[in-house]
């Protein structure tokens, strides 16, 4: 890998009371790379994302973004978050704002863009995710898949250097999962750096450059999708994949 590292986790430990959510995770994400985090629920994947942009503070270890350590002082963290888009499992659109205002709120309040410029940027992004005709709707009038696509546009409006996806399709009806995954695939094809927590093995296999398998707060195996899905080395990875009905041959 010749590209420069952009997000580096070094021996990250996170505890919630007696529960150790992350037991020393090290992982490096390079510019332009798509890394999928897979593994059983509760294995620490989502926690790692929330630590990446300091929504959760670390207990031990170090995370650096673009060469600078992510610290939990408010001002420096805000600079990091501006450049790291995040997409949540439950969309978390702002229900009191229209679709357009959901997308412009970041650029106008954080980047201090004028409303007209922010609107233009938002419209371009809404068109990109296929929702140009929904800008005056409120989130409650949209399907789950549409809401998640707005959430992706909202994150992209900050022109981030990196996108974090926290189980972006887990709360969706099966028929709307595809539209969200296809937007994500387009982003990946355009060279966006992405860290994706997902249970969509097919997406991980087709889109990821690398896959990291989590179990009990650790990365138990890391490799190309080819390595992980066709010839997993760690028995626990094989168990997990076969649990999902994945046997390595289904191409």
């Amino acid at each position: 890998m010749t590209a420069a590292p952009i997000l580096v986790f070094e021996n990250v430990v996170k505890r919630y009371g007696a529960l150790t959510a992350l037991a020393g995770v090290s992982l490096t994400l390079h510019r332009g790379e798509v890394v999928c985090l897979i593994g059983p629920s509760g294995s620490g994947k989502s926690t790692l994302l929330r630590c990446a942009n300091a929504l959760d503070p670390l207990d031990q270890g170090r995370i650096s973004f673009d060469g600078h350590e992510v610290r939990s002082s408010e001002t420096s963290v805000r600079l990091v978050r501006q450049r790291m888009g995040m997409v949540f499992q439950n969309f978390e659109l702002f229900p009191h704002l229209t679709v357009l205002r959901n997308v412009t709120i970041g650029p106008t309040t954080v980047l201090k863009l004028g409303q007209a410029e922010a609107d233009a940027r938002a419209r371009k992004l809404l068109a990109k995710v296929g929702l140009a005709d929904k800008e005056t709707s409120h989130p409650s009038a949209l399907s789950g898949g549409q809401q998640q696509r707005v959430a992706i546009a909202r994150a992209l409006a900050m022109e981030p250097a990196l996108m974090l996806f926290d189980e972006p399709t887990s709360a969706l009806d099966p028929e709307t999962i595809g539209e969200v995954l296809s937007v994500m695939k387009t982003l990946a094809d355009e060279g966006m750096t992405m860290l994706v927590v997902t249970h969509e093995m097919d997406f991980a296999r087709r889109v990821a450059n690398r896959v990291a398998v989590f179990d009990k707060g650790r990365v138990i195996e890391e490799g190309t999708p080819q390595e992980i899905f066709t010839a997993p080395k760690v028995p626990r990875t094989r168990d997990f994949l076969s649990h999902l009905g994945w046997h390595g041959e289904s191409k």
Binding site: R50, L55, M84, N90, E92, F94, P95, G106, M158
Partner: protein, 219 residues
Amino acid sequence: MTFDWNIVWSSLPRLLDGAWMTIWLSVVTMLLAIPGGLALALLRLSGIKPLAMAATAFVEFFRATPLILQIYWVYYVLPAYFDIQLSQIATAIVGLACNISAFNSETFRSGIVSIRQGQWNAGLALGMSRFSVFCRIVAPQALMRVLPALASTWVSLFKDTSLVSIIAVSELSYVALQIRAETYRILEVLTAMAALYWLMGYPQAKLVDWIHHRFKVAE
């Protein structure tokens, strides 16, 4: 039994003055109690122990004692022990505003905590400050949720202003009772007083119903 409604007609200007004072007291009290309640709610949610405890003590005192006692207390105890002498109207407003602030603070607090953490996270993840997330994302949603409760408090306040008649603030009840004392026309005066309260209160109650209907929590 004979009725002498002329008493009512001839006293109408005074009654209307009283009604005007009732409205004025309610409006001024609410204008103070909204920021007051918000400040108390934010102190309780601030996580700064001494401030949170002080705010809690204030709220629990004013919620758990009768308003009439609070008004007396401000009127008699402040001057006697603290050498603070307020006019009757100022006394009435201080008493009412403290009381309604306490109730509003509970309303605001429940509204703020009802907004889930994910909404905070979504704003913070964009790089917004906590202050900005609160003002633009959490507070507007919380306000929509608590508007019905706030409106109900308003209607109670409107009627409870009658309690300040005990310290001779010339709002509607006080004026009406005075006219009664001057004329001995109990039935006519009390009927006129009831009619005036009802004429003012009924549209407000209907408005509250409408607000309840309009701002039902929808996600």
